[in-house]
Amino acid sequence: MDREITYFIQLVIEGLSTGSIYAALALAIVLVNRATGIINFAQGGMAVLSTFVAYALVVRLNLPLGVAILGAVVFAFVLGAAIERVIVRPFERGDPDTAVVVTIGLFVLIGGIAAFFFGYEPRQFPSFFGTITINLGGVFVSLRSLGTIVVLVVVVGLLQLLFRGTKLGLAMRAVADNPQSASLSGLPVSRLLMIGWGLASVLGVVAGVLVAPQLFVSPGMLDFVLVYALAAAILGGLDSPLGAVVAAWFIGVVENLAGAYIDFIGNDLKIAVPFLVMIIILIVRPQGLFGRKVVVRV
């Protein structure tokens, strides 16, 4: 194969891989937004704290990586559910702007808690996929990149299964649609919202664990990922999981291609490119790529 083409394919796969990490966090944001109408700025912080738990289990307690990640997933679920129950619930029925300020406060608070226990020094985190590079017909890609994409695709498949194939998923969709009406059919709305936040928090730790081997674990490790994830969620339409994934992949790929092909941009400016594209798209389609226009019927 032509070297130019293989290079291009490598860049696209790398971009999809980075985009998959944005996508996991973007899915978390979309899930919470659909259920409670709140944009949770603390989603990244919650993910970092849970990733630190994985770090502590694997490095300090010497547990196998798989067990440590499982432990972090359980921690993340409980953390998400507890935050909804204790901190966010009083603001759910109020002004969404107030709730957003609360989540920003949470973001700062959780970052502080992570720093208090683990400090600001970045810490190494083992990768599930090692440092193997695979040759796919002349295209060299790391197992890490492929693995990251596969993990995201599996996560999306599981979510689809949950929401389309189970009674719990049906109930969560009903509560996201109209909580008051859902309660009239006997759905325990508050418990379902807790589960929704717990699930979103689990998606966050998936992003955290996937990105930790590259970025190292530190309280601010997901700050820029959160910015991309928010961008992906908004670009995708805020209430569309599919939109969030497509937008996150798009951002990851555009960022990577722009950095490699447009000379004056390079590595430092490449993060600006997807945002520029995003602004242009949102001017044309304010509801996002997959979002629906909210039509108020009289």
């Binding site: 049906l170 109930a171 969709r173 009903a174 309660s183 059919s185 006997g186």
Partner: protein
């Protein structure tokens, strides 16, 4: 036997009390009406039963004091509320709306049977079974809302303004189905309606509310015989 009893029930939104101590009873297999003008407190009375507003006095359902119960707990006892504005789940398909209605039931086979029963009662819904509820017409949404209540296999249905915003012929269709539901399944109902003629086609007795208090009460025939009812609700 009394299924539902309200004793001196008050209901308020925040500090504003809108229902000031009303009482009535609904027996098993009974259909009671709540009539009255806009703002009389009809919808709020139903919301009080379902635990959606702050409630005083005493509400008893089948011997259990349910005053202040959460809506999902009230539903679990066998009360299905078809709310004002229908409350259909717009992003969910017609089939999923019906399945949500059966959320508290564990009998899969029975649920599948009842979906068929609802589609027989409302044939329009059969063609729209995979459409999102938001894509239905107003009449179809009302039918879906009622069907969703039926899916719970309730002992009592609270029906709020089922004719609101519908063309007269559509409203007639909806009430025809409600009468069929009454005659075939004998489920008890509380029917809130501004259109008294439609209400009287279903209910056996009714109370008339005026700004949050009971102004009249009686059997259908009693009420139909009263001049003030004829003047106010039946056009003379």
């Amino acid at each position: 036997m009394t299924l539902l009893e309200l004793e001196d029930v008050t209901a308020s939104y925040g500090h504003a009390e809108v229902v000031h101590g009303i009482s009535f009873r609904v027996g098993e297999n009974d259909a009671a009406g709540i009539l009255g003008a806009n703002g009389a407190g009809k919808t709020t009375t139903l919301r009080a039963i379902s635990g959606m507003v702050t409630t005083g006095g005493k509400i008893t359902f089948d011997g259990t004091d349910i005053t202040g119960f959460r809506p999902d707990k009230v539903a679990a006892l066998g009360i299905a509320h078809v709310p004002e504005g229908r409350g259909t789940l717009g992003d969910l398909s017609v089939r999923d709306n019906l399945r949500v209605g059966a959320y508290l039931r564990g009998d899969r086979a029975g649920v599948a049977e009842d979906i068929e029963l609802c589609l027989d009662l409302f044939p329009n819904l059969r063609q729209r079974i995979s459409s999102n509820a938001s894509a239905l017409s107003g009449g179809e949404q009302q039918m879906l809302a009622i069907a969703r209540a039926i899916m719970a296999r309730p002992r009592l249905i609270l029906l709020d303004e089922a004719s609101l915003g519908l063309a007269p012929s559509t409203a007639q269709n909806v009430y025809r189905a409600i009468r069929r539901l009454r005659s075939e399944q004998g489920v008890a109902m509380v029917v809130v309606e501004q259109n008294a003629m439609l209400a009287f086609s279903v209910v056996d007795h009714a109370i008339v509310l005026d700004t949050g208090s009971t102004s009249l009460t009686g059997s259908r025939d009693d009420l139909l015989g009263m001049d003030e009812v004829r003047r106010a609700y039946l056009g003379g």
